[in-house]
Amino acid sequence: MWDNISLLGIAPLLNVQLLLDGILIGAIFALAAYGLALVWGVTNVKNLAQGDFVIMGGYIAYVFSTLGFHPILALPVAAVLMFGFGWLVYRLIIAHVIGRDLFTSLLATFGLALVIQQVLNLIFGPDVQTAESGFDILFLFGGQVTLAEIKLVSLILAGTLAALIVIFMKTSRMGQAIRATAQNARAAKIMGIDTDQVYAFTFALNAAICGAAGVLISMIWVIQPFFGISYSIRSFVIVTAAGLGNLPGVIIAGLGLGAAEQFSGFVLGAEFQQATVVGLLVLVLIFRQLQMRRHRKVVA
């Protein structure tokens, strides 16, 4: 471990490499986390199947690439398909969960996560897959830092998506309705907003965002049916650290988490990468407790 740390000191460009990789992946984490924060803020449902929605999107891209299309083309398709899937899930499960206690939504979506990952496992098998994008690799700093072009492309796509969502939330009729419902569902109802429709749309939108994030993940990283839980945990880490309805916070926390994972993966070894995520979650939760204790409150 100490060898690896000193290595970082000897070769400063290694830091650049890790930071770059971390930020490029962290942008996608932030996208999924934003979806979680959206659903959490509007419907008060804590979606533990978040990561599995991401992985589903990834498999849509994978199927696309095996059919001979370019996986980037899967982005709109995955978003539309996942939107429909999210709507269906809302009608079947989430609609019965809204307004119930916290544990109900958590456990129901955990069950959903199990179903999704097992069905994916039955269809695609437990092997690690990736959607080949066919882009080149850029060499920076005289070849010492490598950067896959696809990562840059996905960063741009993720940024564009995030911008589109923000514009949608600010300007469109539905976006305004969503924000109104998040602020006060009762008042929104009195104003004639069909809150049930808003909830369904929000949940479906979240699934679409996750699907798009999954497409990007499948191109720059690997997907596997059981990787979903770590994306769920990542989303929770980011949202817990940033707080609800705090988009800049979500972005910064997402990028930071991506970088932290890359560094810990390098310093401690790849097998500790996931432990780092959950370790960070516990740390964030403890920090929040200490913060709240000052105001004599609990983290709830």
């Binding site: 544990f103 929770f236 097998e271 403890i286 407790q289």
Partner: protein, 360 residues
């Protein structure tokens, strides 16, 4: 709804207890081929009962109680091996070196291992309890889930205890029949002890207190209940028994490994929640009933589902949580309250008040 509970010890209840005891005692002789499955049933009952202390009675839904199961397993393994050999040397051989434990060494090892597992798991619960009990609701559930997942990963990277390769446990000195009987009786005794202890525990103030925490923690605190202390004690009790079960299971399985055997968060860790919910959380018999039903259904149907069993498990969780959260016993209590000795006082209950208002 104001509910007054009357304690009735009827002949039927006594007979029921006796029947279960007799079943537990004769089962391995009547169904010798299913000794392992029935032993697992006792472990499942223990799982559900210990989860329900926090999840059902206190309203703190932990998704990471499996932590203590795995910790108990590893603590017991280290104690058992460490009594006789150097642990690091033993584990690095990955069971390749045949080491013999004498009969005396084996049994002292296992006894000390179980005791150490119970004690250390309780300690872990106290330490983690002070870390996570400022968390409520979803944060508590996610936090405990995170701790259990992290534990599996960390043990997997810890070479002293064999890392991801696991440890082969000491071999039982004796016939296979006596081995399975030995472990069966350990499982049986630990489950019955857990049940008896919880029955005693739930008959006093402790249950009232933790129920108060579940119903309204702020008010409970305002009434002068030291909520944190009760929470830590409740978790320690769960950890104590789970540690014991882990130590027994590790020896029964013969080989332990971090992700599938010791910290199986998505199997055993979720089973305990599902079983309690299925039977009816917040009751003493609910988890027992739920565990029995779940385990029997699982053992009978699992192999016929051809890979769809995990999908079915997820579907069971969803249906159970969304549409049938009160569980079998909760449903029965709603339907026939008199049978459970629950007297609903119409004068005080909200339903009664509404009915009176409507009548006037």
């Amino acid at each position: 709804m104001t509910v007054a509970r009357k304690r009735r010890i009827s002949h039927a209840a006594l007979l029921g207890h006796a029947a279960i005891l007799v079943f537990g005692l004769v089962a391995p002789f009547v169904f010798p081929n299913y000794t392992f499955q029935i032993a697992m049933l006792w472990i499942m009952i223990l799982f559900a009962l210990t989860w329900d202390i926090m999840g059902g009675q206190m309203g703190y839904n932990s998704l990471g109680n499996i932590l203590f199961f795995g910790a108990g397993m590893y603590i017991s393994a280290v104690v058992q091996i460490g009594l006789v050999y150097d642990v690091a040397a033993y584990t690095s051989a990955f069971g390749g070196v045949k080491v013999d434990f004498t009969t005396a060494q084996y049994f002292t090892g296992i006894a000390l291992g179980i005791v150490a597992a119970a004690i250390f798991c309780t300690l872990i619960a106290v330490i983690f309890g002070s870390m996570v009990f400022g968390l409520r609701g979803p944060y508590f559930a996610i936090g405990t889930l995170g701790v259990a997942l992290a534990a599996g990963e960390l043990v997997g990277g810890w070479d002293y205890v064999g890392g991801g390769g696991g440890i082969s446990m000491p071999v039982y000195p004796g016939e296979p029949e006596s081995r399975s009987l030995f472990f069966y009786s350990l499982c049986f005794v630990s489950a019955i002890t857990t049940f008896g202890f919880l029955k005693w525990l739930y008959s006093g103030r402790f249950q009232t207190t933790i129920n108060a925490i579940r119903d309204d923690e702020e008010k409970a605190e305002a009434m002068g209940i030291r909520t944190t202390r009760y929470k830590v004690v409740a978790w320690s009790i769960a950890a104590f028994f789970l540690g014991i079960s882990g130590a027994i299971f590790g020896n029964m399985a013969g080989f332990i490994e971090p992700l599938e055997v010791a910290f199986p968060t998505v199997t055993f860790g979720i089973f305990m929640v599902v079983m309690s919910l299925l039977g009816g959380k917040g009751t003493l018999w609910g988890p027992v009933l739920g565990a029995t039903l779940f385990h029997v259904i699982k053992e009978v149907t699992w192999t016929y589902l051809l890979g769809w069993q995990w999908v079915a498990l997820g579907a069971i969780i969803i249906v159970n949580v969304v549409f049938f959260q009160q569980g079998i016993l909760g449903w029965a209590q709603d339907k026939w309250p008199e049978f459970f000795g629950i007297v609903v006082d119409d004068k005080l209950s909200a339903k009664g008040a509404a009915a009176r208002e409507a009548a006037e």
